[in-house]
């Protein structure tokens, strides 16, 4: 019962997702626009966990999105032929781990600063990382990694089209749902200390919570 009450605010959100999903699969030509909407919802929710709840402005946020893409691309490129579909699961995990490592690097530098200085530092870390990848020609340098040929080689033509046009979009729905649950859980569990940590630093400190 308490579980139902706890996740009650998720109901309208899930209803919207279900309606969007039904529109996407039933109205011809609507799947891609719906997938884009879901992608931006997921991205917005993830961004909100940081900017909206903590009050910190992170202008280098999309670097994490890029690392998620690189995780999947590197997994398919290097482990695709051996692992097959397992490379997709490994790619998701690798993307998360790589983003996590960058977030630790960003946090170690930027969370020592506040306000405008924090925002500038986040730009510095993420842009610096981007130029390091380009400069050392890591992971294809400025050209990046082209996956379409590799995916056809691993999964075959039909399956690679299915994976990149339907399966990946369904995963976006899953990510959006996870982002919703995470937001809700953070608000419930950590309450005031996560919500507006930048604005309520002293109160957080008095509760014994560390900012970083």
């Amino acid at each position: 019962m308490s579980l139902i009450r706890r996740y009650k605010p998720m109901v309208p959100l899930l209803l919207v997702y279900i309606i969007l999903f039904i529109i996407g699969v039933s109205v011809p030509g609507m799947w891609q626009p719906v997938a884009f909407i879901m992608f931006y919802i997921a991205l917005g929710q993830a961004f909100n966990i940081f900017l909206g709840l903590t009050g910190y402005v992170d202008f280098g946020y999309v670097a994490f999105l890029a690392l998620g893409s690189y995780g999947m691309a590197l997994s398919l490129q290097h482990f695709g032929p051996e692992l097959g579909f397992g490379a997709i699961v490994f790619g998701i995990i690798l993307g998360v781990v790589m983003s996590l490592l960058l977030s630790l690097a960003v946090g170690a530098v930027a969370l020592r600063l506040r306000g405008a200085y924090f925002a500038i530092a986040t730009i510095g870390v993420n842009e610096g990382f981007r130029y390091l990848v380009e400069g050392l020609r890591l992971w294809g340098g400025s050209e990046g990694i082209v996956l379409s040929g590799k995916m056809r080689e691993i999964f075959g033509r039909e399956m690679s089209i299915y994976l990149s046009t339907f399966f990946s979009d369904v995963l976006v729905f899953v990510v959006a749902i996870i982002a919703g649950i995470v937001t809700l859980t953070i608000l419930k569990e950590n309450g005031i200390c996560f919500n507006g940590i930048e604005r309520r630093r002293r109160r957080c400190k008095s509760y014994g919570h560390k900012r970083y």
Partner: protein
């Protein structure tokens, strides 16, 4: 020998370019110094200046340096409009609001410019000769850009130090409440400083066009915003003069390191110079956030 010739040539070029970088950053530092607003949309105003020079040259044959005054006027007018329409209401708002507002204004200007002028690269060729130094050739256009940057920065310095308005701006930076008690209209000073900051930025965009071989487009500003942040932090973030000197240092580091990094096989020196610039930014932020060249504590 070729290496040293190349290094010397790049350092000279770096100093020339650095003066333009410095001028392009002074507006950012002025606005932050007086209003505590970080203009994240800074690059969009540089782009406006670049297009002012381009259209004046293409449509009326006006030399780019003559377009500086027009760009300054456009920037001043735009600055006043933006301040009274938006930032006057956000003066006491949290930092997050002003950061997002400037970010939004930058996007709006870029997208409006795209609707007007399209997304493609455009450019013009203004060739008025060059100076031969033996180991390198410096186009006169670049030297004029250097001279113009120094003159504008010097005029601004004189305006700040020798005029009553300049003194009023300095008083507001020093102590807002004290300035108010002395009869200074703080809101007007804020508006003037904001407009002046935008004016300087748009004017610097005119000079930037003399250094971009691939031409200009509506999204060209992003790169200059990032560089301006590095330079502004290097110069102390609140100090326009610090920013101008830091521009020189940045230009020298950027061009000097390009020559040295070019010796390493298998790397992209152009990108690595930018990587170094951002590492420099982070080191300064961590060890001396007030900037290497002063700035307030």
């Amino acid at each position: 020998m070729v290496f040293f010739d190349q290094l010397a040539a790049n350092l000279i070029y770096g100093a020339i370019l650095g003066a333009v970088y410095g001028l392009a950053t002074m507006g950012l530092s002025l606005i932050f110094g007086v209003l505590r607003i970080v203009n994240v949309g800074h690059g969009a105003f540089i782009m406006l200046g670049a297009f002012t020079a381009f259209w004046m040259f293409v449509l009326y044959g006006v030399p780019p340096l003559a377009s500086i005054s027009l760009a300054l006027v456009i920037g001043l007018a735009l600055g006043f409009v933006i301040f009274y329409a938006i930032f006057k209401r956000l003066l006491d708002a949290p930092e997050l609001s002003t950061l997002l507002a400037t970010f939004g204004i930058g996007l709006l200007i870029e997208e409006l410019a795209k609707q007007l002028w399209g997304p493609d690269y455009v450019g013009y060729s203004w060739n008025i000769g060059a100076i031969e130094l033996g180991f390198t050739t410096i186009p006169l256009t670049k030297l004029y850009a250097f001279g113009s940057s120094v003159v504008i920065a010097a005029l601004l310095y004189i305006w700040f130090q020798k005029t009553k308005l300049g003194a009023a701006v300095r008083a507001v930076v020093e102590d807002r409440d004290g300035a108010m008690v002395c009869g200074i209209n703080v809101n007007q000073i804020y508006a003037l400083s904001f407009a002046l900051g935008i004016g300087l930025t748009v004017a610097s965009g005119v000079l930037v066009t003399l250094f971009v071989p691939v031409g200009i487009n509506v999204y060209m500003g992003g790169e200059y915003t990032l560089k301006a942040f590095v330079i502004a932090v290097l110069g102390g973030l609140t100090s326009p003069w610090g920013a101008f000197y830091a521009g020189f240092i940045f230009g020298l580091i950027e061009n000097g390191s390009y020559t040295i990094l070019g010796l390493i096989p298998g790397v992209e020196p152009f990108s690595l110079t930018r990587f170094l610039a951002f590492m420099l930014l982070l080191v300064i932020l961590l060890i001396k956030p007030t900037g290497l060249l002063g700035g307030e504590k």
